[in-house]
């Protein structure tokens, strides 16, 4: 391998798209929990419902604020009237749950029978008096986490463009939380601690503790987060005016970014994502540089986090990791793990938006150069069968993969980590770097502990 040539450019390829991933409707599972006053209605078939109930495991028993509008043969053959049927169901939801918004998730079936959800929604909205957001999160077009992207893109259009002046403070849930129980003058003093910069709205759904954490990180730099898409409640969606700055926290939000730029005329800050201490620092630095703020103490902060990770880094150094690809977090995670001292022969990824992820891709390239390792091969729309052949060949130390392949690979003595866990775990910011490594090293730690057990008889 000629390193000099390799490092000059990332190698992108595209395979058949025969790979395993979650259906994008799975986003309802974390979004209904995030947006507390929402109700998600998935308009699809038994197949969708079966996936949701099995993929969400125990959550399904906790009276979730989501349900299926299960299409029957009469709906498919248009013997039943779409509008009347949806009205009946949504009225029932309003009566039983009284949500502040109903999100319709369009599926493959509504696409194929061309059910005009976007057309039906405004009419029904005025009929029943609840906002309806339409997101087409289907398996024809999208993979797994891209479901959230379609929902947030739809919500971006629902954000108020000018806040009523009296309500302005009330709307901002994050600041309400941070200012909780403080006196007016204290708040004013705090306002003064922010530098003067144009309003910044962050987008991407994260658990509340992570939201607080990232907001505080920026606050340390004197940057004020004016709002967050999505917020805890639909009624608290942030104000988005023309020329506001926006920045993404997750790599799979390209439609949301596009919507914010084109429809809401915001300015996108293209940064690496705040995953890993390296990513978090680069993310903050990029935001600072756009606002012409000199970042304070970031270098020390990053170094301190790295030193606290040393026990895990020891396990990872020199080991190889192979991403089969299913949730679009792959580039950021690979970049972080390479910084941790791993090598990465292949990054599979469902879909690669080279524009939205540009800063992250550049950062990956830079990281590889600095660590002196070859650039990974980036495989878009991978072919799982071909990947398994390559894994057999390469014998990587760790494969990050979906559950369909995890047990069979383990039975062939290939250590695996279930990729979906990275979607649900808290992985953003300085504070959570350890959680990522906790996941990534678990199979390696398991291997150490089971040292005295025989390996499985390999049978490829």
């Amino acid at each position: 391998m000629t390193l000099a040539k390799e490092t000059s450019n990332l190698d992108f390829s595209c395979e058949t798209g025969n790979y395993h991933t979650f259906c994008p409707i799975s986003c309802v599972a974390w979004l209904y929990q995030k947006i507390e006053d929402s109700f998600f209605l998935v308009i699809g078939t038994k197949t969708c419902g079966y996936f949701l109930q099995n993929a969400m495991g125990v959550m399904i028993f906790a009276e979730p604020r989501y349900a299926m509008a299960e299409l029957e043969e009469g709906d498919i053959s248009a013997q039943l009237h779409d509008y009347e049927e949806l009205k009946r169901l949504c009225t029932q939801i309003k009566r039983d749950r009284n949500p502040s918004v109903i999100v319709w998730i369009g599926t493959c079936t509504t696409e194929i029978i061309k059910m005009d959800l976007e057309g039906l929604a405004p009419k029904l909205e005025s009929d029943i008096g609840i906002p309806i957001v339409v997101a087409r999160a289907n398996g024809l077009d999208y993979a797994f986490t891209q479901g959230e992207d379609t929902v947030l893109a739809a919500m971006a259009n629902k954000c108020p463009d000018k806040a009523p002046t009296t309500e302005k403070e009330e709307r901002n849930a994050i600041h309400k939380l941070l200012n909780f129980g403080r006196k007016e003058e204290q708040i004013e003093a705090e306002e003064a601690s922010y530098k003067d910069h144009p309003p910044l709205v962050l987008f991407g759904s994260l658990p509340d503790p992570v939201v607080t954490n990232l907001t505080l990180e920026l606050k340390k730099q004197g940057i004020k987060v004016s709002g967050w898409l999505p917020s805890k409640r639909y009624t608290e969606l942030p104000v988005i005016e023309k020329d506001y700055y926006v920045c993404g926290v997750n790599p799979f939000l390209s439609r949301t970014a596009t919507t914010l730029m084109r429809r809401r005329q915001c300015k996108l800050i293209g940064a690496p994502f705040p995953i890993g201490p390296d990513g978090t620092r680069a993310w903050i630095e990029k935001i600072c540089s756009v606002f012409k703020i000199e970042p304070q103490g970031l270098e020390e902060r990053e170094a301190k986090i790295w030193s606290s990770l040393e026990d895990y880094l020891e396990l990872l150094r020199g080991k190889s990791v192979f991403f089969m690809g299913d949730n679009l977090l792959e580039i950021s995670l690979a970049r972080f793990l390479i910084r941790c001292g791993m090598t990465c022969p292949e990054i599979g990824i469902p879909y690669m938006d080279k524009r939205y992820q540009k800063a992250e891709l550049d950062f990956l390239e830079q990281t590889c150069q600095e660590m002196g390792v070859p650039l990974p091969k980036i495989v878009e729309k991978p072919d799982n069968y071909a990947q398994i052949q390559r894994i057999k060949e390469l014998q990587p130390d760790l494969v990050i993969t979906g559950m369909a392949h995890a047990n069979p690979l383990e039975a062939r003595n290939i250590s695996t980590k279930w990729s979906v866990e990275f979607t649900f775990a808290q992985i953003h910011g300085f504070t959570n770097a350890r959680d990522i490594l906790e996941l990534a090293t678990r199979p390696l730690r398991r291997n150490q502990r089971l040292d005295s057990l025989p390996l499985m008889p390999t049978n490829w």
Partner: protein, 508 residues
């Protein structure tokens, strides 16, 4: 349109895939959008399967929508044929392909020209059948295909086996305790001196299906899967079948007597009466359990039963006839076969419920307040909410129902397992109840361990709010660790910053 939170039986293609992946060397190709291959996850997780699940998707995406699958499905079939050399590739339609109305049969014909193995289209319509019906149909379809194929080639065996023999039909992957039932049925057949000619589909090879006709009779242990095949073999090849589930002492005896009748009609001259007596009175613990004081205490206790036809019907009979328990409600989610269920259990329960609406079942349980529930995982969760113990007797099931230990539901060991399940469900309920009557455990005060009990630290409101977001089961630990961190640094107030610093430093 139907508002649904939960479903008992899956979509049709799951049934087809369960059959395909039960056979050896059969590959299924789903005509489906991205993400519909969730079956592979379930099989790999629930069954802890060591091998890659032989199911691939031929992806339906935007291009397919615009121009049709064209060569894609054919290419995928031929490719898989070359890669893995399966004996059979089963093209599996999904809800999506049902409405696209592409000519999948034509794809199969074209692929067959280049493929070395057989190629077949599963004949199941998503909108007409559920998982169980589809599994039953697919199994029958595959058996018919291979029996007819052999017939055309003149390779169909004409002789029966020398000794009495049986085909056991309907054991599948992801079936409730099917693996253990399979072992138990083999043991039972061995005890009865009956050769097992074939077990299908679990572990079978399609090219051996022609040999099915050599057996003296077919045994269909589960109501839901296998009857279609047994009926086909009866109608076309004159093979008698026994479709009594050997579940519970009485039904197992009934099943064995029926087998005796079927064999004797073919000149076997067998008599199983002494075997039955030996098993029930001396070997199985279940009959003695029913006479024991333990079980006497259960007399007249109220139970609700809900599940698939096979297990709910059998459990209802066991509870009512073998343990003297009062079944206040017996229900099934197999609506398409509800009449059969009603006829089976009518005499042994107060009410029959035929429904696949889990809300309705939950409401009934809440109103009836039974002392125990026997149902699916869904009823287990209803029980949790209402504080009623539940024994799981039917799919849908979680990973804990795929036990490593030997737990059949059928045959004589099955009767022991069921007795344990019933008894444990009720006594746990009794224990709880008694604890409550006598005022709970003796130490009511929670003993605080560690240093957080006498905390000299103050938590800021934000930090307290943040702490409250931490899941309950680890909150104490996070609190202790954070306070230790603060104390080590002589901090007196815990703020959000301190919390994060603690987490970064010690993973609190």
């Amino acid at each position: 349109m139907k508002l649904a939170y939960w479903m008992y039986a899956g979509p049709a293609h799951i049934g087809t895939l369960r059959i395909a992946s039960s056979f050896q060397n059969v590959h299924a190709i789903m005509h489906a959008p991205l993400g519909d291959d969730y079956f592979n996850v379930m099989r790999s997780m629930l069954e802890r399967e060591k091998d890659f699940t032989p199911v691939t998707a031929s992806i339906v995406d935007r291009n397919v929508l615009a121009r049709g699958s064209q060569e894609r499905v054919v290419d995928n079939i031929v490719r898989k044929d070359g890669e893995e050399h399966p004996d059979l590739i089963l093209l599996t339609p999904t809800c999506t392909s049902s409405i696209l109305q592409e000519d999948l049969a034509n794809f199969v014909e074209r692929a067959q020209i280049d493929a070395k193995g057989d190629v077949m289209l599963a004949d199941v319509n998503h909108y007409r059948f559920n998982e169980l019906q589809a599994a039953d149909r697919t199994l029958a379809q595959i058996v018919k295909f291979y029996v007819e194929k052999a017939q055309k080639k003149g390779e169909l065996p004409t002789e029966k086996t020398a000794k009495p023999s049986v085909n056991i039909i309907g054991l599948t992957t992801l079936g409730f305790h099917n693996q253990h039932d399979c072992t138990e049925l083999k043991r039972l057949m061995a005890d009865l001196g009956i050769e097992v000619n074939a077990i299908i589909p679990q572990g079978a090879k399609v090219n051996n299906l022609k040999n099915l006709v050599k057996a003296w009779f077919n045994l269909v242990p589960y109501r839901e899967i296998g009857l279609g095949t047994a009926n086909y073999l009866f109608e076309q090849h004159n093979m008698p079948f026994v479709d009594i589930s050997p579940m519970g002492v009485i039904e197992t005896a009934r099943c064995i007597r029926q087998i005796q009748k079927v064999l004797n009609a073919q000149g076997a001259e067998v008599n199983y009466e002494s075997y039955l007596e030996e098993q029930t009175l001396h070997l199985s613990g279940a009959v003695w359990f029913s006479r024991s004081i333990d079980c006497q205490n259960l007399t007249g206790k109220k139970a609700v039963v809900f599940g698939d036809n096979t297990h709910a019907a059998a459990m209802t009979k066991i509870l009512a006839k073998e343990m003297g328990i009062h079944v206040v409600l017996a229900g099934t989610y197999c609506k398409y076969d509800g009449d059969w269920f009603r006829a089976q259990v009518e005499d042994y329960c107060d009410r029959v419920l035929i429904s696949d609406d889990n809300g309705e079942i939950g409401d009934q349980i809440a109103q009836l307040e039974p002392a125990a529930i026997f149902g699916t995982q869904m009823e287990r969760h209803v029980g949790k909410r209402l504080n009623i113990p539940c024994g799981v007797i039917a799919a849908p099931i979680h990973i804990q129902n795929f036990t490593l230990g030997y737990k059949p539901f059928l045959g004589y060991e099955g009767t022991n397992q069921i007795a344990d399940l019933v008894y444990n469900s009720f006594t746990l309920g009794m224990e709880d109840h008694l604890l409550e009557i006598f005022g709970g455990h003796d130490t009511k005060e929670v003993i605080h361990k560690g240093i957080s009990a006498d905390s000299d630290l103050t938590w800021s409101k934000e930090a307290q709010a943040e702490l409250n977001k931490v899941p309950g089961f680890v909150r104490g630990k996070v609190k202790r660790n954070t306070e230790k961190f603060a104390r080590d640094r002589s901090l007196t107030e815990i703020t959000l910053e301190v919390m994060y610093a603690a987490k970064e430093a010690i993973g609190a």
